[in-house]
């Protein structure tokens, strides 16, 4: 039997430590020390985009402003992702702790949890946790308060500038960047927007130290991460695994023996066919041969009974509806991709039209205003290129 390279980790949900103790120790350090520790740890944003967390905090800390904000992005909307919900349900204090750390580092007095509309059932629990948390803040003499903000259900609001627009009472539409939120965010003030999981990891790094965290994973993708495993698997669920695993190992562990493809990173991620499992590692770009795929944690497994046309059609329907409609490439592009594959399937357009659509998806990737429109090409191109015959026949 091959050596199992997939390493399970237990940091996020571990209960062997007190959040208050971690905070007590961490707040003894200077702001610069905390930033340096995060930078040394190599922690990157766990929402999927993978921006270095330490750097983000550093940028916000460097801004001079009378007001700054910390926002926890709990608008978990990527199809196939359900980890943040579990984190908030089970270890919300760790999330709040991470927010307090950030507030301390950047000098913010107010924080928000932007909670996905569908996660309203978490409100009572979160409010209770916030009560405890605010008492701690008083104990630490830290002037920091967290409020809940409930989203309205738009997928695009997971994108940080849309999230901020939505919090300001406007249509949830992405802003032009620059300026970035660390410079001008909520109400025009420097703002750090971090994913739920990222905030937990900042706490964990405070506990285990940058070295131990960096000791896990691979170069460019250190530490561990939560994966939401779904689809054709006998054990769907949430697993904390070291970064850098190959898809082959992943499929061995979770597949049902007939895995045809894995969609890494949800509808906005990439579809990897069986022949690429070996050479594909899960992590952020850079530092590795072969394919290295980032992910917000969504791992959807498809076995050979699935039609990849239907899978793609489903994603495109999702994007066609969830595009904010603001920019041309995304608003019209999504409609064209969807109508395009339908027309090919019906034989109204030649199979060669797929090439036009691939070029269009490339244009969307290059020119859409935000990550939503840019990432439609990921699933589109990876499915069409690898399962071309399924699109046509």
């Amino acid at each position: 039997m091959a050596k199992r390279k997939l390493k399970r980790v237990d940091l996020i949900f571990s209960q062997d430590c007190s959040c208050k103790d971690i905070l007590t120790e961490a707040l003894k350090k200077s702001r610069e020390e905390i930033i340096q520790e995060l930078i040394d740890s190599g922690l990157k944003g766990r929402g999927g985009a993978g921006f270095p967390t330490g750097l983000k905090w550093k940028m916000a800390a460097a801004e001079k402003s009378n007001r700054k904000y910390v926002i926890c992005n709990a608008d978990e909307g990527e199809p196939g992702t359900f980890k943040d919900r579990e984190i908030l349900d089970r270890v919300a204090l760790k999330v709040l702790g991470g927010m307090a750390l950030c507030a301390y580092v950047i000098d913010a007095r107010e924080g928000f949890i932007y909670l996905r509309h569908e996660y309203r059932f978490l409100i009572p629990k979160l409010e209770k946790m916030m009560e405890t948390f605010h008492k701690w803040m008083d104990d630490f003499d830290l002037d920091f308060r967290v409020k809940l903000f409930i989203g309205s259900g738009a997928y695009v609001c997971g994108e940080e500038t849309s999230l901020i627009e939505s919090m300001e009472g406007k249509r949830g539409e992405p802003r032009n960047k620059p300026p970035y939120p660390t410079n001008q965010g909520y109400l025009g003030k420097p703002t750090v927007v971090n994913n739920v999981e990222t905030l937990v990891y900042t706490m964990m790094i405070m506990r285990i130290g940058a070295d131990e965290f960096k000791g896990m994973g691979i170069e460019g993708s250190s530490g561990s991460k939560l994966f939401s495993v779904s689809g054709d698997t006998h054990k769907p669920g949430i697993y904390e695994i070291e970064m850098g695993m190959t898809l082959e190992d992943f499929v061995k562990e979770f597949g049902d023996g007939d895995t045809k493809a894995v969609q890494v990173g949800g509808a906005s991620g990439f579809c990897v066919p069986r022949k690429r499992f070996k050479e594909t590692t899960i992590g952020f770009q850079g530092g590795l041969k072969g394919f290295s795929l980032p992910t917000g944690g969504s791992m959807m497994i498809f076995n050979s009974s699935r039609s990849m046309y239907n899978v793609l059609h489903n994603y495109l329907e999702f994007f066609e509806e969830e595009s904010c409609g603001q920019c041309t490439p995304c608003r019209v592009g999504c409609q064209q991709l969807l109508k395009g594959i339908e027309a090919i399937k019906r034989g109204e357009k030649s199979y060669r039209y797929l090439n036009d659509l691939l070029r269009l998806s490339e244009t969307m990737k290059l020119t859409a205003k935000c990550g939503l429109g840019q990432s439609v090409a990921n699933s589109f191109a990876s499915i069409v290129e690898n399962f071309r015959e399924e699109m046509i026949y």
Binding site: P178, G325, T328, R331, L360, L366
Partner: protein, 596 residues
């Protein structure tokens, strides 16, 4: 303070620009035109059409040039293969959701999408036509504005215009994804929403999605009807802009050619709204003095400051937004409506015509005038005072249809009897003009002397700042106006409804320091009106305003109270300003309206 400079390379050329310059502006400095659609000089940056994308070395994506500031060391390509391919794709996408019936579109040859699609040689068939399975009805419910969704490319210029320049928010974005569109509140028809009909959205619409409701056919019908006596009046701002739709550069005065062309079109009488503007000054100037007297001498509870009422967009705005403060408005009708009422009474009498057989056509720089003419109360002559209103643009179309070689036609004069005007009337077309004209007359009425400004040019009220203010001291007044001795007459001017709101906020809480305020709904006043040639921007408006002031200086008579025809009108017909007949024909009342 020295400005920080940013060094970058555009298309291989090293340049240096002030910090904060966008790539679009930087390219423009280098005489490189980057195509745009959602960008408009008058509006904030949206960055949503993505037509202006450029390639930047080392960047993962192509940023929008309009929304990306120049950064140190950037290497930018505005016309690389990747940029061209992407632009073509984006234009093709826009075309796929646009009704490409260019042959019958009112904006054909004046459409930004059409121009770019032709420039980039877009294949109309490459993508699937997204309008195929949908049906659209053109919203023609408003008197002034037509909305055709099938031509909308969702650039949101209209939305930003309505919000930023006018603070009306009649148009906004609804839905998301494929269903995202520009709509009114609850997607109701245009006639049912809070809209001032100012038409600024039309001026900034890159396509034919928003246009004025046209009356060209009705006007031709009237001209062809031998039973009808068709009169045309032209507003001051038309003559300095009409040229733009007939092959002239902005800022060329075509007054004589316009009069000649109108005669050629077959109007029985070619008259001038300027005449009525002078009449307005007589009435409004005296109304102001009357209000001051009632306040200062009779100690009556009179609403001050008095505010002008010439701009129908402004009138509709205040009726909706400040219904409790309508008493601040001058009761004077606008020049268009004064003209209409006088034409169907005095003019009809003198010509021996039945008012029912007179068709009053007016050419206006304005879309709101179409609404104004159709207001219920505007029929004091016994029939509808003004029958048909067309915009500067529509007149341009009519002249082209008629086959006249506009550039070659010799100048002509307006017809007599309501064709005479003064410099004071002409400047009505620019922001501050009504104020200047009113001061020229009121000051002279009160003191017996000309306003103390060189060449009658009251420069503090001129210009393009959003809000301007000044004061004129009244000294050595004539005996009958002794209560005004040493009074500092304080006046203010605002153009654009966002600026008007700023002034109104003070008026509403009784905190306004002024006696008299001029408000124009449109940026720049009527020269920037919603019926004027497209495009519009600050530079074009400045040129039109310059032309207006030149026209004023070329006039022999430059004060309204000296207009011989107006003097004659009072002598023969009206009696005196604010008299019985004036009250009936030239003054009006306003309607309280809902805010939603």
């Amino acid at each position: 303070m020295t400005e920080k400079k940013i060094n970058l390379t555009i298309d291989g050329k090293k340049i240096s620009v002030p910090e904060g310059t966008t790539l679009l502006e930087a390219a423009k400095l280098e005489k490189v035109k980057i195509p745009t659609l959602c960008y408009h000089q008058d509006l904030c940056i949206a960055g949503n059409c993505r037509v202006c994308v450029v390639e930047v070395e080392g960047w993962r994506v192509l940023p929008a040039a309009c929304a990306t500031p120049a950064m140190e060391g950037m290497v930018v390509y505005t016309n690389s293969p990747l940029v061209r391919r992407s632009r073509r794709d984006i234009l093709a996408l826009l075309v796929s959701e646009h009704s490409t019936q260019c042959t019958t579109c009112y904006r054909s040859t004046n459409c930004e999408l059409q121009e770019l699609a032709a420039e980039y040689n877009i294949d109309n068939e490459i993508y699937i036509n997204l309008l195929k399975d949908k049906t659209f009805t053109i919203d023609r419910t408003s008197w002034a504005i037509e909305k055709d969704e099938s031509k909308c490319i969702r650039c949101q210029r209209c939305v930003r215009t309505c919000a930023e320049l006018q603070k009306v928010n009649a148009l906004d974005v609804i839905n998301k994804g494929a269903n995202m569109k520009i709509a009114t509140f609850f997607d109701t028809v245009m006639s049912e929403v809070v809209c001032t009909n100012c038409g600024q959205c039309i001026n900034r619409c890159p396509t034919g999605a928003l246009t004025e409701r046209r009356y060209i056919d009705e006007i031709w019908d009237a001209l062809g009807d031998p039973e009808k006596h068709v009169i045309v009046q032209t507003a001051p701002a038309v003559r300095v802009a009409l040229g733009e739709v007939l092959g002239y550069e902005p800022g060329v005065r075509v007054t004589g050619k316009m009069a000649a062309a109108l005669k050629h079109l077959g109007f029985d009488s070619v008259l001038d709204t300027d005449f009525a503007a002078d009449l307005t000054i007589m009435e409004e100037g005296h109304e102001l003095l009357d209000r001051l007297k009632r306040k200062l001498v009779d100690k009556e509870d009179v609403a001050l400051p008095m505010m002008t009422s010439c701009s129908p967009g402004w009138i509709k705005f205040i009726e909706h937004m400040y219904p409790d403060h309508l008493d601040h408005l001058s009761t004077c009708k606008s020049p268009q409506q004064m003209f209409g009422a006088i034409a169907k009474t005095y003019y009809a009498e003198r010509k021996g015509l039945d008012p029912k057989n007179i068709v009053n056509v007016s050419v206006m720089p304005c879309s709101a005038k179409k609404y104004e003419a159709n207001r219920m109360e505007m029929n004091d002559s016994g029939v509808q005072d003004v029958d048909l209103v067309c915009t500067t643009r529509e007149l341009g179309h009519m002249i082209r249809q008629s086959g006249i070689d506009f550039k070659e036609i010799p100048n002509a004069k307006f017809d007599p009897f309501m064709g005479d005007s003064t410099g004071a009337a002409v400047i009505f077309g620019a922001t501050g003009g009504v104020m200047e004209a009113a001061l020229r007359t009121a000051y002279e009425v009160v003191t017996g002397r000309e306003v103390p400004f060189d060449g009658l040019k009251i420069t503090p009220v001129r210009g393009m700042e959003g809000i301007r203010e000044t004061s004129v001291k009244l000294e050595n007044v004539l005996p009958e106006w002794s209560f005004l001795e040493n009074i500092e007459l304080r006046v203010a001017i605002a153009h654009g409804l966002t600026n008007a709101t700023q002034i109104m906020e003070d008026v509403a809480i009784g905190n306004s320091p002024y006696h008299f305020i001029e408000i124009m709904a449109c940026p720049g006043g009527c020269i920037g009106g919603g019926g004027q040639p497209i495009p519009t921007n600050a530079e074009i408006r400045r040129k039109r305003a310059e032309a207006i002031y030149t026209e004023d200086e070329k006039m022999v008579i430059r004060k309204s109270h000296q207009n011989p025809e107006v003097i004659q009108l009072y002598k023969e017909f009206l009696g005196k300003p604010l008299g019985e007949k004036s009250h009936h024909l030239l003054h009006t009342k306003y309607t309280r309206r809902e805010r939603v």
